[in-house]
């Protein structure tokens, strides 16, 4: 069938839209990437996304700053430990949730759903953490974030798709529930667990809110908190430079100082782990969402 004129216009319009969309999605990232490498065009502007004078100068400044290693390692630590703990507890809990014949099963489900809709609010939670003595401890970044009701319901849904005859035959062979979970169900649910562990890992890597709430010790900062601090400092410096420029009316200071390059490099460094796992992430996450999605 030959496409009609209106069909053709429709096609062209869609392609124009998507090219614009691509630019909108990509340019912010590419612009920051360019800024992080570019020492040549400090201050002066250009539309080009290719650095005028390529250099690793800003990265060297950051890597020489001892202050960023601790936050980086802290974030890496809570990501690895938190994700492992989270997946272990959630998959095990979800197994019990998937046993509909278990007395009290409904109670567990309600226990998970109610806090999704109503909670004590920030202050009672804050005071709880204080009374538990978790203030300023790395554990406060791991434990309160390690269970998610959504994730457990998602895993539970996946368990339902595993054919019951598998565990029945194991039961006849005399296997106990935990053995069935560990030896049969867990190995069969790698797709959903991969998806959820990636979500969880990204969540831990991006830990910011609980870190600014509960951590005062710079040694225990997470990477996003450190990054935030640096961006704010850069912004302040930038503002000062700008006001100086307005006062003196000259361009010389701008040429010698380009604080945005440093924060740009910092942004790129913090994105690096996610960019590295992104291809892997891409493969699994769509499947992960669909597994738990409600059939339309």
């Amino acid at each position: 069938m030959k496409p009609t004129v209106s069909e053709r216009i429709f096609n062209i319009a869609i392609y124009i839209f998507f090219v614009a969309f691509c630019i909108l999605m990509l340019v912010p990232v590419l612009y920051v990437l360019k800024k992080s490498f570019d020492v040549g065009s400090s201050g002066e502007l250009s539309l080009s996304l290719i650095p005028k004078q390529f250099s690793l100068f800003y990265y060297r400044i950051i890597l020489n700053d001892r202050g960023i290693y601790r936050p980086f390692l802290n974030s890496a630590f809570i990501t690895v430990v938190g994700t492992a703990l989270s997946i272990f507890l959630e998959s095990m809990g979800a197994y019990t949730l998937s046993k509909r014949d278990l007395p009290g099963n409904k109670i567990f489900i309600y226990m998970i759903i109610i806090p999704m809709m109503f909670g004590g609010g920030l202050i009672p939670y804050y005071l709880l953490i204080k009374y538990l003595g978790l203030m300023n401890k790395i554990a406060v970044l791991i434990i309160p974030a390690c269970i998610s009701g959504w994730n457990m319901l998602l895993i539970r849904n996946y368990y339902f798709s595993i054919h019951p005859s598998l565990s029945e035959s194991a039961m006849i062979d005399g296997a106990q529930e935990f053995t069935i979970f560990w030896k049969i169900i867990l190995p069969l649910s790698t797709p959903v667990l991969a998806a959820i562990s990636l979500f969880t890992a990204v969540g831990y890597w991006n830990t910011f809110f609980s870190a600014i709430l509960f951590i005062n010790d710079p040694k225990k900062y997470t990477f996003p908190v450190k990054l935030r601090e640096m961006i704010i400092v850069q912004q302040e410096m930038q503002r000062q430079i700008e006001s100086m420029l307005i006062q003196t009316g000259e361009d010389t200071i701008r040429k010698s100082l380009n604080t945005e390059g440093i924060s740009s490099a910092m942004i790129i460094i913090s994105m690096l782990p996610i960019i590295l796992i992104y291809p892997y992430l891409q493969k699994h996450f769509a499947k992960g969402i669909m597994i738990g999605s409600i059939k339309g």
């Binding site: 869609i14 197994y95 226990m111 909670g119 004590g120 106990q176 935990f178 910092m266 891409q282 669909m290």
Partner: protein
């Protein structure tokens, strides 16, 4: 007959023994989760009582009834942050909610498989970047002197705009950045729903001479109606939670439109340690959230033909 009897007695035995060896194993498996929920979700709930008490860092000083509420309801900044929160919520439902649906519908019209995949890949990436990074990026991009956007404005002969210092612009700007971050990710679920529509419907429609636009209006959109409704209802559960994105983007110059309930509660409770006032605000917010969820669930019951409730 004997077999049936055996089954019956087995069933009765199973019912009687709640704490059979098997059940105990299962209870033990969920125990850590239960303990976690009790501590981190249920213990803070009675903490709401602080809203009705005189409570200082030093401890409990007695009940005061609704005095704390009377106090916060007389605060000008409280109502301002309340109003601002609603501006963001309304903007989010007018622009943010339809955006991923439109993207999914348009992606569905793309016939080029690899281009489609490429779009999906780049559009979902920002979802995995933290708000801190996203804000850093847009602050750089929108900077009046060195930002890309202002460069283009200047090149086109306009005056540079101090985007993130203009209070009146912030709600629109914030909504835009939020859509930028979430659009690709949110569209996945709609794409999944679209993939589930029977292809024969399209075939017969195109034989009947329906254009692509008509097809997406009369087939695709009704086909994902239920998914849209589910996402709509679920979206109410966290709609007033705006802390992180607002906190990283706001600055003192735009406080008048950028301060929301969450950031106000934070500065009142955590920064100034006025716990009862902040708790009262939190309770006010939680009540509205709950009412919204129940209302939307009720509406979804009314709107669907078979009275399906989502919760």
């Amino acid at each position: 007959m004997e077999a049936v009897d055996n089954l019956k007695t087995a069933g009765i035995q199973k019912k009687k023994r709640i704490f059979s060896k098997r059940n105990i194993t299962l209870y033990l498996m969920i125990l850590p989760v239960v303990v976690w929920y009790i501590i981190f979700a249920y213990v803070p709930m009675p903490g709401i009582a602080i809203a009705f008490a005189d409570f200082k860092v030093s401890g409990f000083k007695g009940w005061v009834g609704f005095d704390n509420f009377k106090f916060i309801f007389n605060l000008k900044f409280f109502w301002q942050s309340f109003f601002n929160t609603w501006v963001f919520v309304i903007y989010n439902y007018i622009f943010g909610f339809p955006a991923p649906i439109i993207l999914a519908l348009l992606l569905n019209e793309l016939r080029h498989k690899y281009f489609k995949k490429f779009i999906q890949t780049i559009s979902t990436l920002p979802n995995f970047i933290s708000w801190v990074v996203v804000s850093g990026m847009w602050i750089t991009l929108l900077s009046p002197s060195t930002g890309y956007v202002n460069y283009i404005i200047k090149a086109l002969g306009g005056e540079p705009v101090y985007f993130l210092s203009k209070a009146s612009m912030f709600p629109a700007l914030f909504t835009f950045i939020r859509i930028w971050k979430g659009i690709g990710y949110s569209s996945i679920i709609y794409l999944a729903a679209i993939a589930g529509i029977d292809p024969e419907l399209y075939e017969s429609a195109s034989i009947d001479g329906a254009t692509r636009l008509q097809q997406s209006w009369h087939i695709t959109l009704p086909g994902i109606k239920y998914t849209v409704l589910v996402i709509f209802v679920l979206s109410f559960t966290g709609v007033l939670n705006l802390f992180e994105p607002i906190y990283v983007l706001k600055n003192p110059m735009i406080e008048s439109t950028a301060e929301v309930l969450d950031t106000y509660i934070y500065s009142m409770g955590v920064v100034q340690a006025r716990y009862p006032l902040a708790t009262a605000m939190g309770l006010f917010k939680a009540t509205i959230s709950l009412a919204l969820v129940l209302l939307s669930n009720f509406l979804s019951k009314k709107l669907t033909e078979d009275n399906r409730s989502i919760l």
